[in-house]
Subunit: 252 residues, 2 copies
């Protein structure tokens, strides 16, 4: 039920799902803070509490902000394409910087404590996701924001960008769950099986993290909620490979 | 580049990706077996080794077979729709039964050992995924295989079925990673950080599990790899809601 070029009505249901996603995202951030505050002594850079900077930054950056960056094209449906692109790119920059702080925090903490780095599945997934995220941003920037790429190149890269964007987001959620599990098992050990309040809170946090991932993915993939076609996109969607080769569009 | 009704050429690239997915899937199953054999004493029903039935069954059922069931419509492109549907449904039945054996194994093992059930994030996610999988199968069966549903109902439910199918599969992969991590931390504890062979093997297994999920998702979501439209699907894709209301199609 798309309505062609120009200002289109917002699809029925979309605002509720977006509102729900934001509620979930903010709940997840707040709950991560509550978990760290209630059961892990809170947050500080210059002490053993430095570790706690890691989960908070990762959840704000690579879960909440990354998720919201993916939703930009669904939420800002009638703004100029270029404005939406810049917002999408900027949100990812913020997410990246916050995640970088979170990464520095954990490496720094390990160094102070003399712990080994990068031995766990969580850390392997984390480094992989972070690298992919950086590469995806660079490639996305060069194709879509840097004015050099042709319509044809953009049209061929676009579905790949979307697929890998969604995949990196889902891998981020998965990595967060692994990290949460690790933090629980290291501290609680066999006490985990006695349904301690921290364990139950963290389990609920884990489920909400997964829910946030699913809701963002749902909004992103629903065909009739895609951004209405505008001039540039229509050209892209026709998938003619050579016709516009070398032609560099200045979007809107 | 879809080619309308009837026998269509297999899209370029698809067979390689499918072959790669199968190689990954079989490697994951073999590696799970190797991990359990080399480091966990192998598999048996009537001993403490009963636990090991759980990861093996889950990986065969809810990862490999579930993933392959999702690919059926991409691989069997020109067979009758009904045949493909039955194969899709049957693979899910096999996956479900094998996963059920895996579930019984772990509950039985916990009971013998006097361990608590359902306290961990892995178990919460697992029960959720297993329940969703069962509901999805039931609903899918009543809409698509049971002859009662109209074109209109099927066309409205179809995108939801696909989205939730992919989501349940991804949640299964995530749950498997959580379980793997749990098994490692319970047994290895701080030895995990010394890069023991078991830890490294299991980390690689975790990455390959995630890779299998990504490759299946890629094959599933690539627009130009979708099954070519046949008569029934064309009717569905037109999305006319009332025209065929009450009309029950006999597929093919």
């Amino acid at each position: 039920m798309e309505s062609g070029v120009g200002t289109a009505a917002v699809p029925r249901g979309l605002p509720y799902y977006v509102a729900f996603s934001q509620l979930l995202g903010l709940t997840v951030v707040a709950m991560t803070g509550a978990w760290l505050g209630l059961y892990r002594g809170g947050i500080a850079w210059k002490s053993a509490l430095q570790f706690n900077v890691h989960p908070l930054c990762m959840v704000i950056g690579l879960i909440f902000l990354q998720g919201d960056a993916l939703l930009v094209y669904r939420v800002f449906r009638n703004e100029a394409k270029r404005t939406t692109k810049v917002l999408h790119g900027l949100l990812h920059v913020f997410a990246f910087i916050i995640a970088l702080v979170g990464l520095v925090a954990v490496f720094n903490y390990h160094k102070k404590k003399g712990y080994a780095d990068l031995y766990s599945l969580h850390s392997w997934c984390g480094i992989l996701v972070f690298t992919l995220y950086f590469v995806q941003w660079l490639v996305g920037f060069s194709f879509f924001l840097f004015p050099g790429a042709s319509f044809s190149l953009r049209s061929r890269y676009r579905p790949q960008h979307i697929f890998f964007g969604a995949t990196i987001f889902l891998l981020s959620v998965g990595t967060a769950l692994l990290g949460l599990k690790e933090a629980l098992l290291f501290k609680l050990g066999t006490k985990y099986s006695t349904f301690t309040p921290e364990g139950v809170l963290a389990n609920i946090l884990g489920l909400l993290l997964a829910c946030f991932g699913v809701v963002v993915l749902y909004i992103l993939t629903r065909a009739d909620w895609k951004r209405p076609s505008q001039a540039e996109e229509q050209a892209l969607s026709m998938d003619f490979k050579t016709l516009t080769e070398g032609d560099s569009p200045s979007s809107q």
